[in-house]
Amino acid sequence: MNNISIFFSKIGHSIKHFFKYLFKAQNENNPSYAKKFIRNNGVQSVITSLICILVGLLVGYITLLIINPEGAASGFQTILLNFLTFNRGELELKYFAKTLVNTTPLLCCALSVLFAYKAGLFNIGASGQYLVASCITLLCSLVLHLPWYVCTILAIIGGAIMGSLVGLLKAYFNVNEVISSIMLNWIALYVVNLIIKKSPAWNDSVNETFNIAENASSSLLPTLGLNNATGFAYFGIGLFVAIFFAVVVIIVLRRTVFGYELMATGFNRNGAKYAGINEKRSIILSMAISGALAGLGAPLFYLSGMGIYTCPSVVPQMGFDGISAAFLGGLNPIGAIFSSYFLQHIMSAGAKLNTDMYCSQTADLIVGVIIYLCAFAGGLRIFVNKLSNGEIKFHFKKKKNRPQMLKEDK
């Protein structure tokens, strides 16, 4: 008995020492490990994003409560857990794989927005670039039956051309990239709809394109047995290609002269020109690469076999969701991988809500709130930073020992 209590007190003692070690400053210039951890840039980004997510979810829960208080708890659970509520391992794995396939184009659009933003451009036209790439993918696979890598390369070129158009207008005519890419979104939508509807890829009887998995199986992405492993027939290498490009983006931006030039131009166009950078070329290339990344999403999604194009009447949400994912991921490609998965997880869960009580757009609402808060991220990060530096202190107790100068003066 005695031994055990000594043992526990020893453990308690060592835990106490461990925390002391963590939180105690080593000396004046060398803050404690805990403080170092929280002052890390990456950690602060993650904390900021988590705050955005938490507040977004809170708003979502309140919305559910307002619409119908009875089902709010279970509805919220559905949104948060999505396929994890199925209670059957293989089914959960299958839906996980499905969500991953859906995440792929979102990740590509997020990378596109992120790359442009790092180069000082706001690419709101990822939707249009994605649309053009979708059109090329569908034509190459369903009509020409080209192998997947050819389709992918052509689609990327298509996206890059759309992107560089915005860059050209910006570089040579000083047209604001936000306005021009919005206009190009709509132009792309109408033209792509026209082309697809006139092409043999269009199945008039069901008002959508033919199924790629059935009609163009030679163009499908290789699966390397992943489809059998996960139980989801359309799970191929798409996601891994996208992740590979995420890593490439990091390397280009952080480790190459080329990436540095693009970022320098974004930071100060005239300064870059002064430093001998061809700033027009930089702007056009930044937008072309951004467009190419958005375009990459289309073949990786459609050639999984899952995608069907239905000629929407409004610009698809994909590019705008990409903006959300990029900012939620703290403008970091690795962060974008997690944030785009999270957003896809939430959005696909929206469709699983009980339609007698709620509508699937509740999930989109949550995403909307999260991205709105992400716009604050700059300010929020300054707050987190100040908090970790001890510049903001919370006073929970009343100050007792307030210096009472006035009384003494009297």
């Binding site: 900012f327 007698d356 509508c359």
Partner: protein, 309 residues
């Protein structure tokens, strides 16, 4: 031909009002990409008001109440932008984009919740067949609606207030050089809040005018069909000046109306895609020509920081 003129005027009214909304915000120094979302919220509030207001209210009063509700909704929604962009110095473009995403989702959630609650079946459509009759007056084959009058008033008032009053000049100075304005005792943050709120009010009523222009019901999953963005282009085309904006809006209204009425002209029977794309292509070309010597407010998009010079 009547149809073409009818649609041209409807679209020109909406574009003028919403482009003026954008102008007020940008003149005070805040880029308002969220116009599209604000229009949706104004339209939504108006449509809900028309669903629940009893038709026994006299016509004139009814019109005013519905318009005021749309205005208030627009102002409230635009406060989201003012809060983020002015108080918290957030990136204005991202905030605006977020507002657009949020507005579409929010409007669908609200409309579906209302229809589910009332009719037992969720739908994205709100109808205002009876209420719309208060808003229109038939003059021969031509349908006149009260928004046209409102637009003229807004245009004239905007021109007078912006150029001929102390308030308007103060507001413009906040968009050009906020530091100088501040040193003259102008409260820059307050001015920008007011600019964004005027913008919200106009965008709200513009959204209502858009959904009521030619329809007696509206499907809220389509937002406002990108008219907020088109209005931004009109604003740039009009070089942030009210009367030029009005002229630009007529041009774009005409181009947009063509896509709805070209079938009535035999010789214009091209594919509809051509007419749908036309306004956007013309817009891009015009932007190419005008953007080189743009008269954009110099401080737009930059959060005001007292410490900067």
């Amino acid at each position: 031909m009547v149809l073409l003129i009818q649609y041209t005027i409807i679209f020109a009214v909406v574009l003028t009002v919403v482009a003026l909304a954008g102008m007020w915000s940008e003149r005070s120094g805040v880029i308002n990409i969220g116009l599209e979302g604000t229009m949706v919220m104004g339209a939504l509030a108006g449509a809900i008001a028309m669903r629940y207001l009893p038709l026994t209210i006299p016509g004139g009063l009814y019109v005013i109440i519905v318009m005021l509700i749309a205005i208030v909704a627009g102002i409230l929604y635009s406060l989201l932008l003012a809060l983020a962009a002015v108080t918290f110095k957030a990136n204005q473009t991202i905030t605006g984009t977020a507002m657009n995403i949020l507005a579409t989702a929010l409007s669908i959630v609200i409309v579906k919740a209302i229809t589910l609650n009332d009719d037992g079946k969720a739908s994205v459509k709100l109808e205002f067949i009876e209420a719309r009759k208060f808003f229109v007056v038939q003059l021969g084959g031509f349908e006149f609606n009260w928004f046209m009058l409102v637009m003229v008033i807004i245009l004239i008032v905007s021109m007078i207030v912006l150029y001929r009053t102390k308030f308007g000049l103060n507001l413009m100075s906040c968009g050009e050089n906020p530091q100088a304005a501040d040193s003259n005792g102008i409260n820059v943050k307050k001015m920008r809040y007011i600019g964004v709120m005027i913008s919200g009010a106009l965008a709200g009523i513009g959204g209502l005018a858009f959904i009521m222009g030619a329809n007696s019901s509206w499907q809220f999953d389509a937002g406002v069909n990108g008219f907020g963005f088109l209005a931004l282009a009109v604003m740039i085309l009009g070089q942030w000046k009210p009367f030029l904006i009005f002229l630009g809006a007529i041009l774009f209204g005409l181009l947009r109306a063509l896509s709805l009425s070209y079938t009535s002209f035999g010789w214009m029977a091209l594919d509809s895609t051509f007419y749908l794309v036309l306004p956007y292509v013309v817009c891009l070309i015009v932007l190419c020509i005008t953007s080189k010597k743009s008269k954009a407010p110099k401080a737009e998009g930059i959060p005001y920081d007292k410490g900067l010079r």
